[in-house]
């Protein structure tokens, strides 16, 4: 079966209020200019053909902000698997393998369990896990792209760290991860909360400054990962958040960035071009 591209909210509601509780539905949120989405588009279409028992829906996140808001989509590509009106899984990031695994997992269950109650482990409401996306160079960098729109305006560079054994990450590994994280985007903001929902006044202010100056940035919510939160304090030699990195170099916290842009309106451009 082919992918159904949503044209209206009504259509979406119609398609998702399925009467069949066993029907597995996949949602794919994308935007036209996010490069990982381009790769995933092909993957998604192929999967749709290969899995006729599942309904594959595709939603341009910018054209349909209301639908995106229902699922709290803040970065693309974003996948949701739903069944019987329940969110089974959410996947943030362009990782075909992970999506396929989840798809298979839930497809099996939807066929082997007659009533709309998949196996015990299956139902995760909003368990968001983020994965790496291989980009063209074969580096596994954080593969979500940012784009400017009202609701969705930054990259979510949240690393996959849902396993219980995350605490025993060695310092070396952590530093490696931090190196990758701080270079995940030309401008990386380590903050409390997300740009859509900051959990600290200083983080909120720094987001505002970046937006005012139309700087595209990636972000990482340090409240969601204590390993990074503590590790980055050592790595940056900086005890507080928010922290801004440009081209992998630590630039400062709110005070410094505020002052830098006040002193020089071209601060961000210069820093991006390594002129600072």
């Amino acid at each position: 079966m082919s992918v159904i591209e949503i044209r209206s909210e009504e259509q979406f509601t119609e398609l998702t209020s399925q009467s069949d509780p066993k029907q597995l539905i996949a949602l794919y949120f994308h935007t036209p200019w996010a490069s990982p989405c381009v790769q995933m588009n092909t993957v998604y279409t192929t999967l749709a053909e290969a899995n006729p028992s599942t309904v594959f829906i595709s939603i341009n996140a910018e054209d349909h902000p209301q639908i995106s808001e229902i699922f709290d989509v803040s970065a693309v590509p974003f996948f949701v698997l739903i069944q019987n009106g329940t969110i089974l899984k959410e996947l943030s990031g362009a990782d075909p393998k992970e999506f396929i695994t989840s798809l298979n997992q839930f497809q099996e269950q939807s066929t082997s369990y007659p009533s709309g109650a998949p196996g015990a482990a299956a139902i995760n409401s909003s368990s968001t896990s983020t994965s790496n996306a291989g980009n063209g160079n074969g580096n596994s960098s954080i593969g979500q792209t940012q784009f400017q729109s009202q609701k969705i305006n930054s990259v979510n560079a949240q690393q996959q760290n849902q396993d219980a054994e995350s605490e025993s990450e060695s310092e070396e590994k952590l530093n490696e991860r931090l190196k990758k994280l701080t270079s995940a985007a030309p401008v990386m903001l380590f903050m409390k909360g997300t740009p859509a929902s900051p959990q600290c006044g200083f983080s909120r202010q720094l987001v505002a400054i970046l937006r005012e100056n139309q700087v595209r940035f990636g972000f990482f919510d340090i409240l969601k990962d204590d390993g990074v939160r503590q590790g980055l304090k050592k790595f940056s030699d900086w005890p507080t958040f928010p922290q801004l990195y440009i081209n992998g170099t630590f630039q400062g916290g709110l005070d410094i960035i505020k002052e830098s842009i006040e002193d020089d309106s071209e601060f961000f451009n210069k820093a991006l071009n390594n002129e600072i």
Binding site: C200, G201, F202, T240, F250, D255
Partner: protein
């Protein structure tokens, strides 16, 4: 500015002031306790220190000569390591200037 009644200076503020003065010999120093602005906030829930958790500090010192902002701030963070660590100071808004920079600001 709110009309706050003359408030007592807490022990942490006293420590901060004395450490900075000793290490940086500032020509100008000012400290304001902003903790009351944040005491209800999510990040401070369950914290043992909510009365001396946020400070705004201005330090003008020749020690900052030739150092960029991150370095200056790091200098202060080092000096106030204990306060930021075990004493529970949650955030510091820092304004760090050299005497020359300060002078030219005053003229504006």
């Amino acid at each position: 500015m709110s009309n706050k009644v003359e408030e007592e200076v807490g022990p942490i503020e006293v420590e901060i002031k004395s450490k900075i003065i000793e290490k940086l010999k500032p020509t100008h120093f000012a400290i304001v306790n902003d903790s009351w602005k944040h005491s209800g906030h999510h990040g401070l829930r369950g914290a043992s220190n909510v009365t001396e958790s946020h400070f705004r500090i201005t330090v003008v010192s020749p020690e900052f000569e030739g150092k960029n902002q991150p370095t200056r701030h790091r200098l202060i963070y080092k000096i106030l390591e204990q306060e930021l660590g075990e004493k529970g100071v949650h955030a510091l808004q820092l304004n760090t200037k050299t005497p020359i920079e300060w002078e030219s600001l005053q003229k504006k």
